[in-house]
Symmetry: none
Subunit: 417 residues, 2 copies
């Protein structure tokens, strides 16, 4: 089954935004057994869109279109689809209700301009967009499917995952695919690859494909099996994962099953804290609130997360976390005694069961020969003890912050488990 | 002058990598007065590449191709170009010298496989690639230019900037383009569009195009002018922006000039604080450290950012920020007196010039009829006063956190300016 993606909008062509939508769609389709034949990015131009639709139709069975559906004047996708399918506009009550609902959550009335968003080409079926005011339109014409979606990534992603993929699966027959991803933290891609090399070679016999998906401080290993018997796929993949655990169990912090809820490290930590009825606080320096942000972006985190002190300046480490002036003077703010004191102090002050602290040199400035940029100390205080660890990350500020947070959460996870 | 970009390789189609090359090329071309008509990503497939070349040639004068030039893979770009131009391969001494030089820097001899990289279609001119072993090929056929470049971003970028753009400028005459983007915060796309509708209509007379670029809590308005006289373009755009300011000045927080450094809201705030030699602290509840994270992800933020208290639990609001128990009881934690007290307390405690506080219901739980999910109070304390504002955002937790942070930073910016 061949698919084409058409993205509409000048912002991609002039390079103002990078087209991450197509990569998301490509990945999602691939995971569901469909291949993308071509991705075309075209301008907000009637003739050009018509041409692109025609060309895509000649190559593919499914044409997924994103962008150009805003309420403003530069968005002409809808009008052009009307022309392409030689149909007229109709007012769609369901689409209008979506617009009303979105506006209601903001306590606002629908404007005349936004009322127009409920107008769609007559022959399309409206797929509900619960996250925005632009309608998603499904056209089933001469055996080919055209879907027009908004370009806003989080609207498009929800539509693709929750509605378009299931609808496509209903409409066409695909082979079964089963993906399970092993989440690892604390081991680099190349070291990992050497460690599991023989195991990796053994996957081919079961027709399982492996993909390395690295992100700062983590590598996700995705196993994908494709076949006609759904139940077999799961058995094969799980068998291989059991073998993998014998090799790298200490680095594995969780699993993701494709199509099921994904779990981030902060969600796994949150679940452990909730189950054990334990609470957490953080005392952060170089991460500047990022660990706290990760913990609190999980819904319901107020059950276990109490609060934090972000002690960026030396004085705050001293006055709020009782780090003795001498220790900072003698050991520096990025040192084992400082992070250990930070963790002990915040745990006591905020009366939590556990605490995390971090102090490091995120960069680009502040590095020395002794402590280059990327040097980080992390500590965890538990009801029984304090543990701390030194890391040496790279020289990218944003990634150092992310890696520190992930390393800290993983240290906490190990203590909780 | 119309340009098309063709990227060759399955890794983009299956979403394994995001196509950042095309955005880079698009930006660079645009900056130099060329517009990209279409970007097509196609597979490593002979027939498909031939078709894409034909289609691109019909629409554009310049066709830039990246990818499919590696030494080992099923990289068939070169062979396919040979077929497309009905020519044969020749061995290029200059291209071979590039390969030899690259291998020499690694202290290695050229392998037979890599020697093949110096073979190119006879009719092309080889453009030297100083950063890799794949040749860059320039075809000038029937008045149209085709350039085939390696897909490795840093090789492609150097080639485009240092060689291809100058060569194209020598070969064709381009009009000038000038873009300036107005950054707004606190007003939705459709409300904005209605407010500036007449102004928008007036742009056509000066041949200026407008694009709306929305992201959570913000809308960027990009004005683009094209013409023969470079100086005029800037004058026209700036004139129109002056008119726009009369309509929406309170929502504008900055500008981006295309090709110059981009600035985020936290960078703008950081610059203001640094220039004025002022310091900042935050007391966060619903944002859980996100405002602090935004402030500290800016390099050098330790010059003005002192620290924060993340008071997620009621008790921390009381013990650490002195919010009276009665006020929380009578008004709730999401209320004007609570955020104002939080801002006043952290400013005093951390001895900063300014402070930000936020308390809200990020969701999905915790909403009431009175205070639905998305209700947020933000306060700013300055050396002179405390100001506070209530917001009603949507029902998405992550976006509520982002929107609150952006709104808070924008309130601070207004106070600083």
């Amino acid at each position: 089954m061949q698919v084409e993606i058409i993205t509409i909008g000048d912002e991609i062509l002039i390079g103002q935004i990078v087209d991450t939508n197509s990569a998301f769609i490509g990945q999602l389709l691939n995971l569901n057994g469909m291949s993308v034949k071509q991705i075309s990015s075209v301008s907000d131009d009637r003739e050009h869109i018509l041409k692109a639709l025609d060309e895509a139709k000649n190559r593919a069975d499914i044409i997924l279109i994103t962008g150009g559906l805003g309420p403003t004047k530069d968005d002409i996708t809808k009008k052009t689809l009307c022309e392409y399918f030689k149909t007229t506009m109709r007012f769609d009550e369901g689409a209008y209700q979506d617009v009303v609902n979105i506006f209601a959550t903001f306590g606002k009335e629908v404007t005349p301009l936004n009322r127009l968003q409920a107008e769609v080409p007559s022959i399309c079926e409206v797929v509900h967009n619960y996250n925005g005011t632009a309608p998603c339109m499904w056209f089933d014409v001469e055996g080919k499917i055209f879907v027009s979606m908004p370009g806003v990534p989080y609207e498009m992603k929800a539509l693709m995952k929750d509605q378009i993929i299931p609808k496509l699966k209903q409409r066409f027959n695909f082979p079964f695919i089963y993906h399970k991803t092993v989440l690892t933290q604390g081991i680099g891609e190349s070291t990992l690859s050497e460690l599991i090399s023989d195991w990796e070679d053994s996957l081919a016999a079961l027709n399982i494909k492996l993909a390395y998906l690295p992100s700062p401080g983590m590598v996700r290993l995705r196993l994908s099996a494709k076949g006609e018997v759904e139940a077999d796929l799961k058995i094969y993949v799980d068998k291989k994962i059991e073998e993998l655990k014998l090799l790298i169990s200490e680095y594995i912090y969780g699993y993701e099953i494709f199509g099921e809820e994904k779990e981030t490290l902060e969600e796994i930590v949150g679940k452990l804290l909730r189950t054990k009825k334990k609470t957490i606080s953080t005392a952060e320096s170089c991460t500047g609130g990022y660990i706290s942000h990760l913990l609190t972006r999980v819904a319901g985190s107020s059950d276990y997360y109490i609060g934090s002190v972000i002690s960026y300046a030396y004085e705050i480490k001293e006055t709020e976390l009782g780090v003795p002036h001498d220790i900072i003077l003698n050991h520096g703010a990025v040192s084992q005694p400082v992070v250990e004191q930070m963790a002990i102090a915040i745990r006591k002050k905020y009366k939590t069961d556990y605490s995390i602290s971090a102090s490091g040199i995120a960069g680009p400035g502040g590095g020395t020969d002794d402590k280059p940029v990327g040097t980080v100390w992390v500590a965890i205080a538990t009801p029984e003890k304090v543990i701390s660890e030194k890391f040496l990350f790279g020289n990218n500020r944003e990634r150092n912050i992310q890696k520190t947070a992930n390393a800290a959460l993983n240290m906490l996870r190990k203590e909780l488990e």
